[in-house]
């Protein structure tokens, strides 16, 4: 793997525990600025835990996490968010009794630049026009796909430098999955680095530049995504070929 650009996120030997469950057993990875990277692996491998550790929800016990060179492993989630990291949590954790509009508004909670927030709102509405139609509807009454779009949209409202996405394709129809991945490319083109966790390895590797394969708390393979798509091991285990 050739890391040419400056890395926006760097993990070095990160360990995370849930009480006595050793969920991350020394993760190291480096994501270049402007990239799309993905993390694939079986259920329970520790993919979600990796994202939660980065964002500070499940703090690392050991190891170092650097965002733009600055260590962030000791920061609380809201401080990490303040640095420019947004996470769309697994299972579309939107605010069910807030309207679509209010959900998006919460995404911009830390921002003071009202004019730019308004611009970003327009941008999110242009990415997901259905959200504009449903602006006044309660988040909890949106369909699964709409909720996923809302969750992504909410993360974008903080105008993040790094977007962490946990299984955006979960439970969505193939057509919609395709649309969401296309939108991710669009988001990336606007300059947002994306770190993606996916079960849908094929789609994820297709839009990513770098891929990481995870097994029981460890990263076992790192390569260019295109190379991973050809890798026999990966093909067998995650691409169902």
């Amino acid at each position: 793997m050739a890391v040419t650009a400056k890395s926006i996120l760097e993990l070095t030997d990160v360990h995370t525990y849930y009480d006595n469950i050793h969920a991350l057993k020394g993760i190291s990875l480096s994501i270049p600025e402007g990239d799309i990277a993905c993390l694939i692996g079986a259920n329970g491998a520790g993919k979600s835990t990796t994202l939660l550790t980065i964002s500070g929800v499940q703090p690392a016990e050991k190891g170092e996490i650097r965002f733009r060179g600055e260590p962030i492993q000791h920061l609380r989630p809201e401080q990490v968010a303040g640095k420019g990291v947004a996470q769309t949590p697994e299972g579309r954790q939107i605010f069910p009794r807030m309207t679509t509009f209010e959900n998006l508004e919460m995404g911009a909670f830390l921002r003071k630049d009202k004019a730019a927030v308004a611009e970003d709102l327009e941008w999110v509405f242009s990415l997901f026009p259905v959200l504009k139609e449903r602006a006044g509807q309660l988040g909890g009454t949106l369909s699964g796909g709409e909720q996923q779009m809302l969750a992504i949209g909410r993360s974008l409202m903080s105008r993040p430098a790094l977007l962490l996405l946990d299984e955006p394709s979960l439970g969505l129809a193939p057509k919609l999955v395709e649309r969401i991945f296309k939108t991710l490319l669009e988001i990336n083109q606007k300059g947002t680095t994306i770190f993606l966790v996916e079960q849908n390895a094929h789609m994820a590797l297709n839009i990513s530049r770098t891929g990481y394969v995870m097994e029981t708390g460890r990263i076992v393979l790192t390569d260019r995504a295109s190379a991973l798509l050809e890798n026999e091991q990966v093909k067998k285990a995650y691409l169902g070929e």
Binding site: E78, F95, M98, F101, M106, L110, A118, R134, G136
Partner: protein, 414 residues
């Protein structure tokens, strides 16, 4: 749908009959089924009314499925009455009430207002921030005892003791808030319940400070000062707010200020942060909400409002004892919040009056009064599970060019 509703109606009516008839009808001395029947009739009447409403709503829904449900439309109609008139009318009514009522009625009014302010305070913790608190009455006790002790020991006046009570209440709020930050649901309920009981037991047993179960008495009433030019000199004269109407106006002012305060909080950034925490804590912190700080703040501010109410309560009675602060009181306040419609200020005001005044109206039923109270609660929750006046969707705009996001509501707001 109609059949289902009818079946439900029959079950409720039967259930109520089982509850009411034996307990009211067969008394030890005399058999009085007529009285039980009357009460039963009223309740069944309410149920039938509800059934009719539902049937009409259901029928209409079948024809024009896209139309907003009945409650939503009524609410909209009410909201179309200029708010100034509604609020002005209520204010006028509240202001002239003591002139029309006898002392007993004023006293009930004062109690209602105390509970309204408690409900509004607890609403911050339960309604906005989503933290269950079963020991809320402890902060009311803190306010009452702070004023009592400061006044009896140091002669501190009501107005000077008030801020001290507020600060102490907030400190206590943080004391209960801090260790429970990571708790949710059932655990939080148990810990807060325990906290409430601990406060009461401390008050009950710390004889040297609180006089234990005998309680404290002899506190001065709140005072107003007015200038006097008698004897050619100038001096301030203290006027003690002793009469019931005077105390009524004082608590009315406290309630109005509480409403203003809670409304401002509700519509602020802090209010949004609280609601986000209530809805999904992880998502909230990922959005940049400092959850720890905001939860502590909710406990502290909720406690502050209870503390003010407590100080007023002690000053009004000029007496306080630990048995005013039983678990039952926390329950009633919680009922006011839930019944009113979690997060809804007008709902809580109405529920405060309903829950405190209704048991008074049923005083004639003697021991069965709490039964009637329970029955009313049950019925209300069955008929309007979302509360008397559900919190309306908050209409906030991000910016002027906002594309009217609230037009598409579909009436699904609860």
């Amino acid at each position: 749908m109609v059949r289902q509703e009818l079946q439900k109606l029959a079950v409720y009516a039967f259930f109520l009959a089982i509850l009411l008839i034996p307990m009211l009808g067969f008394r030890s001395a005399s058999f009085e089924p007529d009285r039980a029947l009357k009460i039963w009739g009223v309740f069944v009447g309410i149920l039938i009314l509800n059934f009719i409403v539902k049937a009409v709503r259901g029928g209409r829904a079948a024809v024009e499925a896209h139309k907003e449900p009945w409650t939503e439309r009524t609410r909209e109609r009410i909201s179309r009455i200029p708010r100034l008139y509604t609020i002005g009318g209520l204010a006028l009514l509240a202001a002239v009430y003591p002139l029309m009522a006898n002392n007993y009625m004023i006293d009930v009014g004062i109690t209602c207002l105390i509970y309204v302010s408690l409900g509004l305070g607890l609403n911050i913790v339960v309604g906005l921030c989503g933290l269950l608190d079963l020991g809320y009455i402890a902060f009311y006790a803190v306010g009452a005892y702070t004023y009592s002790l400061l006044n009896l020991t140091f002669g501190v006046s009501f107005w000077a003791a008030l801020p001290m009570g507020v600060v102490l209440g907030m400190v206590c709020g943080c004391i209960i808030g801090y260790p429970t930050l990571k708790m949710r649901g059932d655990y939080l309920a148990i810990v807060t319940l325990g906290f409430g009981e601990i406060v009461r037991l401390v008050l009950n047993n710390w004889d040297s400070l609180t006089a234990g179960p005998n309680g404290l008495f002899g506190m001065k009433r709140p005072t107003l000062y007015y200038p006097s030019f008698a004897d050619g000199g100038f001096s301030w004269v203290a006027y003690y707010l002793k009469s019931l109407p005077a105390l009524y106006y004082l608590i009315l002012i406290i309630v109005v200020l509480t409403i203003v305060g809670v409304r401002r909080l509700d519509n602020s950034r802090i209010g949004r942060a609280w609601i986000a925490i209530r809805e999904d804590e992880t998502a909230a912190e990922l959005s940049g909400v400092p959850t720890t700080w905001n939860k502590l703040l909710a406990y502290a501010l909720g406690a502050a409002f209870a503390s003010v109410a407590g100080a007023f309560f002690a000053a009004k009675l000029s007496y306080t004892n630990p048995n005013f602060f039983l678990f039952m009181e926390s329950c009633i306040v919680l009922c006011i919040v839930v019944l009113g419609g979690v997060g809804s200020i007008p709902g809580i005001v109405v529920a405060g009056f309903v829950l405190i005044a209704v048991p008074e109206i049923f005083r004639g039923l003697e021991n069965y009064r709490m039964l009637a109270f329970g029955a009313i609660m049950t019925i209300m929750m069955v008929v309007k599970p979302e509360g008397l006046i559900p919190a309306s969707r908050r209409k906030r705009e991000l910016h002027a060019t906002d594309p009217h996001p609230h037009e598409e509501s579909d009436g699904r707001d609860r």
